[in-house]
Every structure is written in C-alpha cells, then in structure tokens.
C-alpha cells in the first residue's frame, strides 16, 4: 500500500484515506497508514482536507433530510405484516382449492368414457347398463373375487341412452404392495343410490355444477383370491358364436384377450356375465356385469369368502364398480394396472355408444 525508499516516497492514495476515515480498512492497514501519517506532512494535509470534505458532504446531505421523523410503533408494522400474510394465505387457499376442483372436473371428464361393453362382432363393447338416463352417479367399492350365488333376476328392459350420466371419481389409495405404484388409481361409477357403500367418514364431497355430486374418497384395496374361479352355476359361452346375440350386453375391457366368458342366466334374459381377460403380465382382469343386486350380492358374498381364504389379504388387487340404475359392472384386477388400463381403453375406443 505505502512504499518508502531512500529516493522516492509513495503517499497514501486518496481513496484509501477516504476508506481510512470511513473506518473501512482492516486493523493492519490502519496501523500502516497511521505510521505513514506520523511522518508525512503532505499526507496529513491530505487527510485533513478529506476529513473536511467528508464532514461537509455529511452536512449538505443533512439539509435534504425529511422533516423530523416519528416512526410508528413496531407493533403496527408487525400487525400490518401479519395481516398481509393472512391475506396471502387466503388467496393461496382459494387458488389451490380452485385448482383442485378444476383438476377433479378435468379428470372426471377425461375418464367419463373409459369403460366400454363388447362391440358386436368384435371382442368387446361397452355395456349400455353403465350409462342410463336420469341417474346421478355413485361409487361403490366391492370385494374382488365373486361368488356366484345370486338369484335369478326378472327381465327388465333398459331405456335407450343418449348421453352419459355424470360420473363420480374415486381416488383409491392402496396399501403398499410388491408392485403397487405410487400413482393413484381412479374408479368411475354412475348410480342413483343415495347410500354409498364406501365409508362416508373418509370421503370429501364436492358439488360440481348442477346436481351431479363429485366425490373423492379413499378406496381400500380389495383382496382377490389366487384362484380366479367363480362359484355357482355358470355356463361358458363362446364369444364368436354368442356375442352376436348379446350385442352391447357383455361388459369387458377392450384390447385384452378373453380367456373365458361365462353367463349365469336370469329370468327374462337378464343374465349375469363374467368375462376373464389376461394382461400381458399374466394377471387376470375380470369384468362382471348384470343386474345390480345380483352383481352386488356376488361381490359381497365373495368378499366374505375371500377374507376367510386369504386372511392376510391380497393388497395388489382392487375392484371398481360402475352402477347405473339397475345395472352394475364390476371390474377386478391388479391395482397397479387398473387405472392405466382404463385409460388405455379410452384411447382405443373413442366412439361411445350412448
């Protein structure tokens, strides 16, 4: 910083004197400067001039200060800060709630056409029973495996359907299984029953326009037995031969190979059908459709039997039911595949039958 030799003396630079007077230098730098000042009259004069300049600057700036200041109490500032924070949180809450509702609406719309019945001639079509007019939606959880002990059901003509009834979306949170993904599966259902089968205590009910309630609730994963066989009297049918007579009545998941198609006759031709299909992984997808009381009875009875056979439960499977008026479709399969499977179904079947 400061160099002195016999021939030349380097004086303290002006900016360093400013920094020195502003107490912006380190202790060692200050010592060095003071040592130089003690024997350099020129730098002393320079320092005095800078000190005067500094004081003058301060005095000039003091003239342009505001009138005498009485600061508000600190509590006032704190109260204003707290109030602003509350307003901010309120807006965040409103925004997040609006986003949630929007997301649910979108998902409800997006998934409203995922399940189809068997198309005549082809392997699969969407059951008209899934959508019936003048019905509001409802979601049910049902046991996975089904026991066929349901009584015959009297025939009941189904009304023609023009458009889908509003659907309900159920977010199913599953117990963690070996192959359970982190994602959440969704179940769709339409029905008018005012008493949902799921636990209302855990559900969050949202009203989504009109009179169509949209509900979110936890769906416990339903165990499915390792043996996919159905009890009761069933008649195996050949899809190629008989599906022509059952146009639009056999519910199954399109795009998957059908391994078995069975029917339990009901009065007036209102049969219960059970279609087994296999995923690429080898897992079974079973779709049971028919009159709602019979399908429901089947799945309920089977749930009891299954809990005895598999007390530890099979947490990797779940069942989704769709109920519309007197019809019900129950789809059972691996929990980790059901959601994506339904989405795939929709992509491949853009034409809706109603």
């Amino acid at each position: 910083m400061i160099e002195a030799s016999r021939s030349t003396v380097r004086h303290i630079p002006e900016d360093e004197l400013h920094a020195y007077l502003d107490q912006a230098l380190s202790r060692s730098q200050c010592v060095e400067i003071e040592r130089h000042l003690a024997r350099c009259s020129r730098c002393q004069g320079e320092r005095d001039g800078i000190a005067a300049l500094r004081d003058r600057t301060t005095a000039l700036l003091a003239r342009i200060g505001p009138p005498p200041i009485i600061p508000p109490a600190f509590d006032t500032i704190m109260a204003r800060a707290a109030s602003r924070q509350q307003r901010r949180w309120r807006w965040i809450k409103v925004g997040s709630r609006a986003a949630s509702i929007g997301g649910v609406l979108f998902l409800g719309w997006w998934m409203s056409g995922r399940l189809f019945l068997v198309e005549p001639g082809s392997a699969i079509a969407v059951a008209p029973a899934v959508v019936a007019p003048h019905d509001s939606p409802r979601v049910e959880t049902v046991p996975a495996s089904v026991t066929a002990k349901a009584p015959a059901v009297s025939p009941k003509p189904r009304a023609p359907v023009k458009r889908p009834a509003p659907l309900q979306l159920v977010r199913a949170s599953r117990p963690v299984g070996d192959e359970a993904p982190a994602a959440t599966d969704f179940a769709l259902a339409t029905e008018t029953d005012p008493q949902p089968a799921y636990d209302a205590a855990t559900s969050e009910r949202l009203t989504v326009g009109g009179d169509a309630p949209l509900e979110l609730s936890d769906l416990a994963a339903q165990p499915v037995g390792d043996d996919p066989g159905l009890n009761g009297l069933w008649r195996t049918i050949v899809p190629d031969k008989e599906s022509a007579d059952r146009r639009g009545e056999i519910a199954l998941v399109p795009g998957l190979p059908v391994t078995q198609m069975r029917v339990q006759p009901g009065a007036g031709g209102d049969d219960v059908t059970a279609v087994d299909q296999t995923l690429e992984s080898g897992d079974l997808i079973r779709t049971i459709s028919g009159p709602a009381p019979r399908v429901l009875a089947l799945v309920n009875e089977d749930a009891a039997a299954d809990s005895v056979n598999h007390p530890e439960g099979n947490t990797n499977h779940m069942t989704v039911t769709i109920r519309q008026a007197d019809r019900m479709v129950a789809v059972t399969g691996p929990a980790n595949a059901l959601g994506s499977l339904l989405a795939r179904v929709n992509l491949k079947n853009t034409k809706r039958r109603y």
Binding site: L61, P66, F74
Partner: protein
Amino acid sequence: MGDELEELYRTTYATVVRFLYRKVWDADRAHDLAQEVFIRAMAHRPEKPRAWIFAVAANLARDEARAAVRRKRHLTLLKDDPATMPSSPLPADEMVEEDERRAKVDEALATLTKRDREVLLLWDAGLSYPEIAQQTGLAVGAVGTTLARARKRLVDAYDRSEQEHRAAHS
C-alpha cells in the same frame, strides 16, 4: 429474529426514511415506503436484514421514481389545460432560505452520476463498504474511489451553485 428486526427498526427507520426521501423527495411517500420495507422484512426474515432493507428500499425508490416520471408526464399534459392551472403562482419571496439551500443540494446531487449518487446516499445511510459493494455491484475496493469522487463532485457542484447565486444577487 423478531427482536433483531425490532431493534433494527428502532435504530434504522429514520435512516431508511432519509435514504428514501433523498430519492423520492416526498416525506410522506418516504415514510410509506420505509414502512413497506419493514413489513416485507417481517415476511421475508432476511439473513442480513440491514443490507436487505436498504436494497429493498433502493428498489422501491427506483419503482417510485418510474411512477413519478409517469405522473409527471400526466401533469405535463394537465398543465396545458387552463382549468387545471393554479389561479396564482407562488411568489418567489415565499420560498424560505432552507428550501433554497435544499434545492441547491438537490441540484448538486443531480450532477452526480447515478452510481456515485447511490454510493454516496448509501454511505450516508450508514452502510459499510462491503454492504455498499454488495448492493451496487462494485468491488469493495472501488467503493472508496467512488465515494471520494462523489464527495468531491457534490461539494464542487454546491459551491459553484452558491457562487452563481451570489453573483446573481450582487
């Protein structure tokens, strides 16, 4: 943190108002902005509250200056409207001596470059060289140089203004 902010509020509020006043030239507005600065500090809880407060104050003053420019344009337009013109302008002799001096300092400050003025006002607000450097983007070693130049220019400009004033009245 709350105690630290409270202490900082008590010791720095007046300085922040003064710092802001020299930028916005409106005492009430300077008070409002200073309170805004501390309200934001309460919400953000900065690690270095003192430097943070002056940085935010400088930003608010900058925004205020832009808004003032817009208002000035608006007033310029209104000025051409006879209905908005004052009935009688203030007589010059009503301007107090303090206002004259203040106006001269204002003019002298206006002769400084933006950076010199900023450094000078931050130093006058009590910020250290490292804090000034952090806020202005200068190297710490350059703060002394900038301050030296700013002080000299301010005093020179003010003295020149005084001389011109005296010459005009002699």
